[in-house]
Amino acid sequence: MSGEGERQERRRRLLQLASAAVFLAIVGVAVLIVVNQSQTSGGDSKLEDVGLVRSQLDGIPQNGMVLGDPKAKVRLVEFGDLQCSVCKAFSEEIVPAVIDSKVRSGEAKIEFRNYTIISEESIPAGAAAIAAGEQGGGWSFIELFYRNQGAEASGYVTDDFLTAIARGAGVPDIAKWNKARRSKLTLGLVRRTTEEAKRLGFTGTPSFAVEGPRTSGLETLGTPGSAGEIEDAIDAAS
């Protein structure tokens, strides 16, 4: 083969290689996008009960991690772990009745404090809730998290999951929320309330405490068995 022929052959092979590279690149980008779509399919559109949570909390003030009228005389404190399945059951079966009977009326306010006991993933989850609270969506975040909760310590508490919850909870500034949830201040707060729960003698979640005009500081309730028990404790404290 002549020198010119060899060059032509080499050129033909290199161009074939380049064509293959283009094909691979197109496939690669398509795969990246498809994989990304499937990974984030737990996003806003797949969240459950967004509308339910909105209607449940509609019209009730949210300040930080407190739900209800800030001037309410009685403060009910829930120490919970967002990964805890019993907390989820409370959130769905007991807390809504208390919200309707005592919080919506302005008799009491409920404050959520993190008591992280399930796994390390509970810490960023709790911090994300606090960061949502800074933008007026703390309780929306908590309620929506519980309704989309996965198996305990199964690794579902990813950045994508938390972001989807924050968006579903109506957090207006996701960039600000991202900074806040990763800050030492917020993460430190999660640890401090966990220590506080231990000091109060709580050994599981959810645990409740109440504070009002007729209590001497924060009085522990443990884990009440019904909404009625909580309502009675609020009445006794007011």
Binding site: R7, Q8, R10, R11, R12, L14, L15, L17, A18, A21, V22, A25, I26, G28, V29, L32, I33, N36, T40, D159, D160, T163, D173, I174, A175, N178, K179
Partner: protein, 143 residues
């Protein structure tokens, strides 16, 4: 004549790749220490994108990979021969493909557009175009 045409392509690619290094270095420096690039036209797009989970790959800011990519493209533009032509083409192809993916993320996932990312995507698209032309017209031919 053809050699000089390739020389022109290489010269333009050199300038664009150098500019790309500058853009990627700026994004990296701005992002370090928890900051974010400043969108010159205002808005919070750059901050939103920088704070998103997609801004890092394996814990490293993707702008760092950008610096590396543009630096290699700069080297490919400065060098002669088929190896440099192929390397320039393949690198710019990867960069262009990843830019397409990042633009998709900005528009449909992060829902924010960062001007610096757009600038980088435009530069990478130009580099891909130049390297594709260099490849198709000159590969297998004397440098």
């Amino acid at each position: 004549m053809k050699a000089s045409a390739e020389g022109t392509l290489r010269m333009v690619a050199t300038f664009i790749a150098a500019f790309g290094v500058g853009v990627a270095v700026y994004i990296t420096i701005a992002d370090s220490g928890g900051g974010s690039p400043v969108c010159l036209a205002g808005g919070r797009g750059c901050e939103t994108v920088a704070d998103s989970t997609y801004s890092h790959l394996l814990g490293v800011n993707i702008a760092v990979f950008g610096i590396l990519g543009y630096a290699l493209l700069l080297a490919a533009a400065l060098l002669r021969g088929d190896t440099a032509r192929m390397a320039g083409f393949c690198l710019s192809l990867v960069g262009f493909g990843y830019s397409v993916y990042l633009t998709y993320l900005e528009l449909f996932k992060i829902e924010a557009v960062c001007q610096w990312c757009v600038a980088s995507a435009v530069l990478m698209t130009l580099l891909f175009g130049l390297n594709a032309v260099r490849m198709v017209r000159f590969v297998g031919k004397p440098a």
